[in-house]
């Protein structure tokens, strides 16, 4: 036992190696016909003679299915050979935000953008699309954060130069020191906020956030529809109808209203408000 902490990447790699070795052993055992369910080529069960033909057919079928599966997997995941790098991308949280899920992005993209079927996989595609948009948002967030980190680093650099400037007045209190920092950091951040790079990063983040939210709504609405619950889109339509009706009512009232002025002053209670408008009973607030 060493003092070195357990490395999860090594462990994951080892697990993957063992799994691969076992699969290979299984296939070797089956194709060699030396035994059934043998691990590492060692037969554990002797097959009865009358079962040999059936087993051979099953083996051929299994091999053919495996070939088809490999071919399909290659189509679905054209760039997704399981390598150490791709495993790392899958399991290393630090890579998730800036890089998305690498090969899986491509897989999701492929599934989302493939042909649609009338009733097949509709909800799944919505969920996959939400996943894709969420990944894009995470990338945009990471790009935004990189710019912000750069700005903070620049502010620190400028601060160090400023406090070591022999020409500057002495700083004799923590508050003076804080004020110098605030001034420098504020100016640096404001400068950054006005750069085309920052504005574009902020624009992309705002946009991808909106797209994520809209896609999540689509999923929520799919479930609402299954349960006969009104969706946000339906509510928007209803509210639009109400809004349009109110507008029409106001226009009709305006057309029918008597000339507005001049009028003699009158008490609040004596006058009839237009329909839709409410003349408030005098209520004091303070």
């Amino acid at each position: 036992m060493t003092n070195k902490p357990a490395n999860w990447m090594d462990q994951a790699g080892e697990m993957y190696k063992q799994w691969t070795d076992q699969q290979q052993a299984l296939l070797r055992a089956m194709s060699a016909g030396g035994g059934l369910f043998g691990i590492g080529g060692t037969p554990t069960v002797n097959a009865p003679a009358d079962a040999s033909e059936g087993l051979r057919k099953a083996q051929a079928l299994w091999q053919s299915s495996m070939d088809q599966w490999v071919a399909l997997a290659k189509q679905a995941l054209p760039q997704s050979a399981i390598t150490g790098e791709s495993l790392q991308a899958l399991f290393d949280p630090s890579q998730w935000a800036p890089a998305g899920l690498g090969p899986l992005d491509a897989a999701i993209e492929h599934l989302v953008e493939g042909p649609s079927y009338a009733t097949l996989w509709t909800l799944d595609r919505k969920i996959l699309r939400a996943q894709k948009l969420r990944t894009e948002w995470a990338k945009d967030l990471a790009a935004y954060q990189v710019l912000m980190h750069g700005a903070w680093n620049e502010a620190v650099k400028r601060f160090l130069v400023a406090i070591n400037d022999a020409q500057g007045s002495p700083i004799t209190s923590w508050r003076e020191l804080t004020d110098v920092w605030i001034d420098i950091a504020n100016n640096t951040l404001v400068e950054t906020h006005r750069t085309p790079e920052f504005l574009e990063a902020q624009r992309r983040l705002t946009r991808s956030g909106a797209e994520c939210r809209l896609q999540e709504r689509e999923i929520a609405e799919a479930f609402c529809e299954m349960q006969q619950i009104p969706t946000r889109t339906e509510m928007d339509e209803v509210q639009r109808e109400v809004y349009e009706l109110r507008r029409r009512l106001r226009a009709l009232e305006k057309r029918g209203a008597p000339a507005a002025v001049p009028h003699a002053p009158s008490s609040i209670a004596a006058k009839t408000p237009r329909r839709g408008a409410r003349r408030a009973s005098p209520k004091s607030t303070a």
Partner: protein
């Protein structure tokens, strides 16, 4: 390299002791303050008219009337009208009442998701127009004085251009007219909202509104905070520390926080017009802005106009406001440039009296 930092250990110890004492006093004070103690918009008023979420208030007089024509204060949808009446000694409303103005204010309420279809047309030609009609009816007059603030100033300008017969005198404060004039100033600390909105494309705005229904108040708060990033980050530590041991200053701080926290959502369709037609395409100053199928021609503003701007306004840079001079159709155009920033013009101790008095003096010359 020689450092500028020259801390005297004894002085540092004293500062540390002082810091601790302030912190202790402040924390006791903060513990004793409840939300109900932090009241804003307390000037007595009466609700006199309501339509949907719009409420019209009439303020109780505080002095003999010196201006015969009543005045309506119109705030925008980006914040709440309560900024004009933050506290007793920092209140434009109170200052105007104390100088004998008969005052009304319109409160747009808190727009929700169901209000997403409301347009600026609904606010200008609908609610605002109804309020003005109501006041005209109430007083038996043809026209009233209108005072618009920020986006409310744009509403007031649009209304005055579409219904000039209803506005006797028009006062706009910290109001954008040329939304691209920030570029002429060349200041890096001014006009970030102008820059931010121009960085979006029309589809970005549409999708943002589609996703949220409205322009979320929280998003606008975030954009405002990026204009002064460090003061936003330090106000709850350093800023609070500066005022925490002084009850009066602490309450001022908390009232301002209460107003800032009360940022409503901007109805979606109106937000699209605000961001796309005005901020991005600058249609108002070009006389291309349309409401209800009618073009808003600023040259139709023929009544006397007073334009109040803030010289250090980082939200609405002065040049964006002052562009109005070239657009209106009146020769009776005046400006007051006040020291201070966007909100400071209304709530700073220095501006109290100056703004209210400037407005009343201008009005009394135009009875």
């Amino acid at each position: 390299m020689k450092s500028r930092i020259q801390f005297d250990p004894l002085e540092m110890a004293k500062q540390f002791t002082d810091f601790n004492q302030r912190l202790q006093h402040g924390s006791e004070l903060l513990r004793s303050v409840k939300d109900r103690d932090v009241q804003i918009a307390t000037t007595p008023k009466t609700e006199v008219f309501r339509q949907d979420k719009t409420t019209l208030y009439h303020y109780e007089p505080m002095a003999d009337k010196t201006v015969a024509t009543p005045m309506l204060v119109v705030y925008g949808l980006v914040g709440r009208y309560t900024m004009a009446d933050l506290q007793e000694d920092r209140s434009l409303i109170r200052n105007l009442l104390l100088q004998g103005v008969d005052l009304y204010a319109v409160d747009w309420g808190n727009p929700g998701r169901g209000d997403r279809w409301l347009t600026i047309d609904d606010y200008v030609d609908g609610y605002l127009n109804e309020c003005i009609e109501f006041i005209c009816h109430e007083h038996g007059i043809d026209s009233i004085n209108v005072l618009g603030i920020c986006e409310g100033g744009v509403f007031a300008l649009c209304h005055a251009a579409l219904h000039p017969e209803r506005v006797k005198n028009l006062i706009v404060t910290i109001t954008p007219v040329d939304f691209h004039a920030d570029q002429a100033e060349g200041r890096t600390d001014h006009g970030f909202i102008n820059l931010w909105t121009r960085s979006l494309n029309a589809e970005d705005v549409d999708r943002l509104i589609e996703a949220n229904g409205n322009l979320p108040g929280e998003l606008m708060s975030f954009v405002f905070s990026t204009m002064t990033p460090l003061s936003s980050l330090t106000k709850y530590n350093l800023g609070l520390l500066d005022v925490v041991d002084d009850e009066k200053k602490l309450m001022n701080f908390l009232r301002m926080e209460k107003w800032l926290a009360d940022r409503p959502h901007h109805p979606g369709e109106a937000a699209k017009q605000w961001l796309k037609d005005l901020y991005q395409q600058n249609k108002l100053v070009k006389n291309q802005f349309e409401l209800g199928g009618r073009k808003v021609e600023l040259a139709n503003i023929t009544m006397p106009v007073l334009n109040v701007y803030a010289k250090e306004d980082h939200i609405i840079p002065p040049q964006c406001s002052r562009a109005l001079a070239e657009c209106v159709g009146t020769d009776d155009y005046s400006e007051i440039g006040l020291a201070g920033g966007h909100v400071g013009v209304f709530v700073s101790g220095k501006s109290q009296g100056v703004l209210g008095k400037g407005i009343v003096d201008w009005l009394t010359e135009r009875p």
